[in-house]
């Protein structure tokens, strides 16, 4: 997929680019308002990651410009202002999603994948990883054509893992993704372990290879090897 990151903070911009750049992905970056306008008028992207506060103008103007020209690019707004107003304004203007800073790169990636999937022309509602096939519409999982019964959380974990395949996902990121703000009440994320354990067991029982690995005790990784 082809992405554009519009973000003025160099550290964050580079991290996002590093995280998304891999085989099959193109990730371009710009840091200010005029350059961003130039880019979006010249090229089309599967998804644009847009920061609202930019030097030289407001990120929402870029979104307006996109919508006025009827460009089909998916837009994900990232903002340090988690104000409800900003969020609603962005979504009203036609943004596909909104993510408040700070966020985990894995979360950003899962959101971007969802946007790109929704925007895809063939209306492909399937997420495929080797022999695992997820139907995001029906929220079902199949392995070798056989349905695997997963709980809501286990399904969420699997979808998140596949969106971030090959990447190490920290327990924090996973917990925040699955439990949202409610996770604030937890002092540790050990209870995630039981969900992962159950998911692995169910997949292996269905004849799937064991793709989920623990990484350095701080996270997990879904990978071929």
């Amino acid at each position: 997929m082809k992405l554009l990151v519009i973000e003025d903070e160099a550290g964050l911009r580079e991290s996002i680019r590093d995280y998304f750049t891999e085989a099959g992905n193109v990730c371009e970056t710009v840091s200010d308002h005029p350059a961003a306008l130039q880019k979006i008028n010249m090229y089309r992207y599967d998804c644009i990651i847009l920061d609202i506060t930019l030097p030289g103008g407001n990120g929402l103007d870029i979104l307006r410009s996109l919508k006025q020209n009827h460009y089909p690019d998916g837009v994900l707004i990232i903002s340090a202002r988690n104000a409800l107003d900003d969020r609603l304004k962005g979504l009203d203007l036609g943004a596909d999603d909104y993510l408040a800073k700070p966020f985990h790169l894995s979360e950003l990636r899962a959101r971007v994948s969802a946007i790109v999937r929704r925007k895809s022309f063939n209306g492909n509602q399937q997420v495929i990883f080797n022999e695992i096939i997820l139907d995001v519409e029906a929220k079902t999982v199949g392995v070798h054509g056989q349905t695997v019964k997963l709980t809501k959380r286990e399904y969420g974990v699997l979808l998140y893992f596949i969106a971030n395949k090959g990447k190490v996902i920290s327990k924090n990121a996973l917990a925040e993704h699955l439990w949202g703000d409610g996770i604030d009440a937890a002092d540790n994320f050990d209870f995630i372990y039981s969900h992962i354990k159950n998911l692995r067991k169910k997949l292996i029982d269905a004849g799937c290879k064991d793709y989920i690995h623990s990484a350095y005790g701080m996270g997990y990784k879904l990978a071929d090897q």
Binding site: F103, L105, A185, A215
Partner: protein, 420 residues
Amino acid sequence: MKLLDKYNRISILVTILVIVVTGFVYYFTISYILTNQVDKDLAVEENEIFDYVKFNHRLPQVFKSADLKIHFQPIGQNTVPRKFKNTPYWDERDREEESGRELLSWVKVNETNYSITIIESKVETEDLIRMIFFITLGIVLLLIIVIVTVNRLLIRNLWRPFYEILGQIKLFNLTDQNSIKDLKTDIVEFQDMNHEISAMTVRVRHDYLELKDFVENAAHELMTPIAVMNSKLDTLIQSSNLTERQGVLINDMYGTMTKLTRLNKAMLLLTKIENKLINDQEYLDLKKAIESTCSEFQDMATDRDLVLKINLTDVWITISHTLLDILLANLIGNAIRHNKTGGEISITLTNEALIIKNTGKYGALDEHAIFQRFYRSPESEGSGLGLTQAWQICQNCGFKLQYSYDEVWHVFTIILKTAV
């Protein structure tokens, strides 16, 4: 004490004092004058006796009179000093003792000395004085009534601008938009006061907004560096050759980042709640909201082997959806987080109150400090703002949040309605 009462008290006290003093002076003066008058009458009688003795060389015949008694007494060669004095007077007609005035004198008749005692009743004088006293008393009462009434009207009128300003100050709220209005008054002092208070509120509000902006901006500005650090950590863990030791360190850093983020978010949220910026009021099923919050926390409760006892009745309340979620998540989350392994949580909802009880690792908390910002038990990993948020939300919604400790239970009660 109100200004009017204080003023009335002083002015009435002074009035009474002055009138009483005046009354005394009045009484003594009149009494003196009247006694003098009586003394003159007595002296006239004495002179008449002297004249009679001079021409007739014998004592005059004494006639009985209602208010005058003359009495002669032979005293040989002695004399008595001439003097006036007060004495009782027996009124035979009225058969009662009255006060009287006596003149003691003597006269020489044919070589024999006689003492003369002339007593005159002072009853009329007394009557006069009594009348004067009652009239004075009447005047005092009248004067007090007049003073109180006039003061009341006058002060109420004079001080009206003051009370108007006071009323405005009472209604003044830093977070509202309304300011102190100008007053129509021609009294310079009040104009001054109004003007100064007006200026002060403008200044205070300006400072407050600036401070609020600063807090909000500071919190927001922090979000970006936190986001960068977070993303760098996310990138760092993608490295293929990390050791277990490095993994533990990175995990700790994640933990700290999470804490920092939570703290920052909690501060922003608290500011928003305090400024009543969340206004998505709805008529909501409280029972359903509690059940959904509980199911969200189920994993954490199961992880710690907590027993959850829920007893809910159907209650609907009008509240912001966002705020209700925060309120329930904070209270139920606390009940789980501060519980001991294998402990219990009991949630009871009635029409009057929502009661969340939990067992805990430690004893009673300080019920006065518990809702203050950044108060937390030493072992708590939280931001110290969760209960402050909960308290503020209850405050905004007109509920009352209370804490108590009952044997083993930490009890948080939200009083939804005050008992009728």
